[in-house]
Subunit: 562 residues, 2 copies
């Protein structure tokens, strides 16, 4: 049994695809003309009025795709999500895919694109990977306008008495630009502003991205924006966007960005792509509006969260599903042979060699994520995303292990074969939805203390023995309780490579503690960020950025995205 | 004779307007469906393929609108441009308006919008004033991606030996953010980058904006991007985008931004809005592609340049028209009673009081701009843009002066009456096009020395006695000649308020010299910038920014843009 390698690159496959006009895709979903705002021939924004018109229609069933702890190259979660959506449609179901919008930073830097791969992609991939419909640019602009209003407020007399040393609001660019991590601004004398330390994050780490992704509608967006804590004043009291009086202007800048975007997959499955918060500093899922819209328009929604079940997965289930009242019907846990071998101790450059022993060793990582999904009382299917170098012995080992444990599993070839490569997975997912009991419940009560909630996540999801707090974090625990911020869900910022807070501990680490270094109030988003280890909110570029390969051909088509 | 005040604000008028679907506007221009990319129902991008399809069609006649030296509130040049376009259509001509895209910085800061006013506006004004079709965001992204590539190059070994003290490429935001004018980046130790002085400009001051506006097509755009000089190396040799190898990636980021945008005026006159470079540090005109597209689609094109005839006017005629081989047929010089009174010595807060003597005094400013247009051998009409406070005596004085001098003049009421308020102006413009001799020629030969070209502009256009150079500028003159950069047109950065380089010298200053402080090579744009006085490339916000009034209503409509 060998797997064929598509000789074509992702962008070649995507550009050769026969795209349907997005109007036709929308027609198939019973969207009426006034609800569709075209952005060119193959992209459109959807009006939120659809929710009103279809309020009596039953919601489609939500299938959530997550994965084991990934390797730096990613495990193909988006590819499986797209492939599963295509497969469901091949089986005659009305399925809609809901995905995140890619950030330009990684696209220009390392990844070259984030729209699935092979024959399971969303298209037009070059548009989605570049400016798309401008949502991320709108967020960048709103974020930086707020920063300018803060510095201008201080320059013009500082009526709110903002403490220049305690400004938490950072500027953003949607690029990998390490030189902006730590900067000093406002230099040049009294006419040029108030000098202070500052720094830029990547846009997808902005609280405004998280807010856009958790807001239910435009009014909710405005209410959340108003609550953002941007700084403390000289009496150490929080200063909010509402204190600055600019929530209206920020909402205005986001009035189109809040509308979800409709595109299609290579096989014309409708895909709603909207929002893309980081899965470490934020909750890592596409927008509530995207998932709910997909659920209004389709009988099945296939959606995903960033990184593994310990990050995007835990946050989808504890933060997004709770906040939006979404009840997932099934979970797909994506695993790859090569990542499992890495968890079993194989070095990155030896992953192409067969190593059944290492694979067996690495299965404990998958086992932990299975237990996590079980802790949420959700039925699941393991999807093995097949890669070219996977050997028959390795595949047999993995399938046997699943069978022995009684775990539903499917070997998927969606990358090579599109929807046809995911038919078995689709059937198994439909089967567990029909046959399993599903008592989904978030893992913790939001009314519990910050410490209790963190302990639940760390022990149940990561497998840690306990949580410890640095002196700074302890001080913040008290302060946040005093501000009335403790009854919010927790968003843990942690390395994606390990279940622990140490990126080098692969597999299933044991006897470890999670150290919370710092807490950050994201009151607009509606969660408290707990930082563990060093979390990078502004990536850097590699020595040879992906951008060096990029170009346009004589007809104006994109070249070198992959 | 009194003028009625519309009791409605600009945004109220614009939102109440019966908009035609942009498809219908495009149909009226013989644009075929594949050439139109809709952005919602009322905006579209136009394919550059139109140029090929219509290559044998005769170009429409270009009417260029400029003004006297403006007051801080602006003289209504865009309003007259829109009104004249509407009036020409009322006379049965097929006219298309070509305008610049507004920058969000001034919109959020002071102006609240830049899309004409009253009953001579382009719509949807709130879209055009906010993110529009994303062109400026694409430019911001390309500009900042280039900055990240430069800093990353130094971080990764600095093969090109870029001198960290001699990097000329600045980052940008499309906001007024004075705290970013002078900053220090790359702090935090060796992992965070190379520390250096830096600063942000507003996006419209980016050389990439100027390049987009002067490029003839995508290939020309790429060629120009490759030539941008970003820094000098340690041997004081220029380092270009081509040396960094990223012109392809930058072109890819701009592949949609290069397509011009089609909207409509309140009276459904087609309007092409594309590009918006600063008129001081850059050439201040909408894109060559916009003007040429309007000229392919219409029999008449009404277009404008930023600030007065000494800045945007001179640059349209010496830089843009030359580079794009555009031959304007007539010039409209916009003047207002209140600006003329200011030039005649009246303080800003006394402009509403009748003052015929000051008006007479201020007419010398208008006289100078008339002479400038005559120096280009172009026929002109003076358009008096009527304001509410203008008295009958003042208007009579101005009209008499024009008659005495034999200058064609029209009192326009396009703000109050739309196209109907500009019928007389339209007839006079058509008349001079038909009857006047037009021997248009740029004022200088590009092959002349930088010094000679600057002297021509300063003496002929500004009325200066001569040009002097600071020691730094003198050194640069020699350096630029050595690099082979001297046969480019000159783009003077000068205050817009005065003909001289001193903003306080109103009217028609005499016996003054122009001091060139610094020269900057904009090799991608294809001109040399000569800086006189202090030129602000990053504005600041006022104490009460316009943003404080902005909001969305319950239906998601924009509120508080004006």
């Amino acid at each position: 049994m060998t797997i064929k390698v598509p000789v074509k690159s992702d962008i070649e496959i995507a550009q050769e695809a026969a795209k349907k006009p997005i109007k036709d895709i929308a027609n198939g979903l019973d969207i009426v003309e006034e609800e569709l705002e075209l952005y060119g021939h193959y992209k459109a924004k959807l009006s939120l009025d659809i929710f009103n018109r279809l309020q009596d229609k039953e919601d489609g069933k939500v299938i959530f795709v997550t994965s084991i702890n990934p390797t730096p190259a990613g495990e193909g979660k988006s590819t499986v999500t797209v492939g599963l959506g295509q497969a469901l449609n091949k089986l005659g179901k009305n399925a809609v895919v809901a995905l995140r919008e890619p950030s330009l930073g990684p696209t220009m830097g390392i990844k070259g694109g984030a729209t699935g791969g092979g024959y399971s992609q969303v298209i037009p991939m070059e548009e989605i990977n570049l400016h798309f419909t401008g949502d991320i640019h709108a967020i960048t602009t709103a974020n930086n306008a707020l920063a300018a209003f803060i510095d201008n407020h201080m320059q013009q007399g500082n009526e709110l008495q903002i403490d220049t040393r305690k400004i938490m609001w950072k500027r953003v660019v949607d690029l990998n630009d390490r030189a902006l991590r730590k900067i000093v601004i406002g230099l040049g004398g009294p006419v040029q502003g108030v000098p202070r330390e500052d720094g830029f994050d990547i846009t997808v780490a902005s609280e405004i991205m998280a807010i856009l992704c958790l807001a239910n509608d435009l009014q909710d967006l405005k209410t959340r924006l108003a609550k953002i804590v941007v700084a403390y004043n000289t009496s150490n009291e929080p200063v909010t966007v509402h204190d600055l009086g600019v929530e209206g202007a920020l909402t205005l800048l986001l009035k189109d960005a809040i509308k979800p975007n409709l595109v299609q997959t290579l096989e014309h499955t409708p895909a709603i792509i909207h929002g893309g918060p980081f899965a470490n500093i934020a909750h890592g899922c596409n927008s509530v509006i995207a998932t709910k819209m997909a659920s209004k328009l389709g009988d099945y929604v296939v959606t995903e969260g960033g990184f593994g079940a310990d990050l995007g997965g835990e946050k989808f289930l504890n933060i997004k599903a709770r906040s939006a009242n979404i009840k997932p019907e099934a979970v797909v846990i994506v695993a790859t042979i090569r990542a499992l071998k890495m968890h079993g101790g194989v070095a990155k450059d030896a992953l192409k060699e067969e190593n059944v022993e290492a694979l067996e060793n690495g299965l404990q990582n998958l086992q932990k994520h299975v237990e996590t999904i079980q802790a949420f009382s959700l039925p699941f299917v393991i999807a093995v995303n097949r890669f070219v170098a996977d050997s028959d012995n390795e595949i047999a080992c993995l399938m046997n292990w699943c069978e022995t444990n009684g775990y539903p599993v499917s070997l998927t070839e969606v990358w090579e074969k599109g929807g046809n490569g995911g038919l078995d997975l689709a059937e198994k997912v439909l089967h567990i939805i029909e046959t399993s009991e599903n008592n989904f419940k978030p893992l913790y009560d939001v009314e519990a203390s910050i410490e209790e909630k963190l302990t639940t996540i760390a022990t149940t999801v990561y497998g840690a023995t306990k949580v410890t707090f640095t002196p700074q974090a302890k001080k913040q625990l008290l302060q946040f309780e005093g501000e009335g911020w403790s009854n919010l869900p927790i968003c843990v910022a942690k390395t994606q490579y390990s279940l622990s807070d140490d990126a080098t501990k692969l597999g299933r680490p044991e006897d470890f503690e999670i150290t919370v270094r710092e807490l950050r109030p994201k009151i607009g988003a509606g969660f408290i960020v707990a930082l563990t280890g060093d979390v990078l909110t502004m990536p850097g570029l590699p020595k040879k950025p992906a951008a060096l390969q990029m170009d346009v051909d004589a007809d104006g088509n994109a070249v070198g995205l992959f």
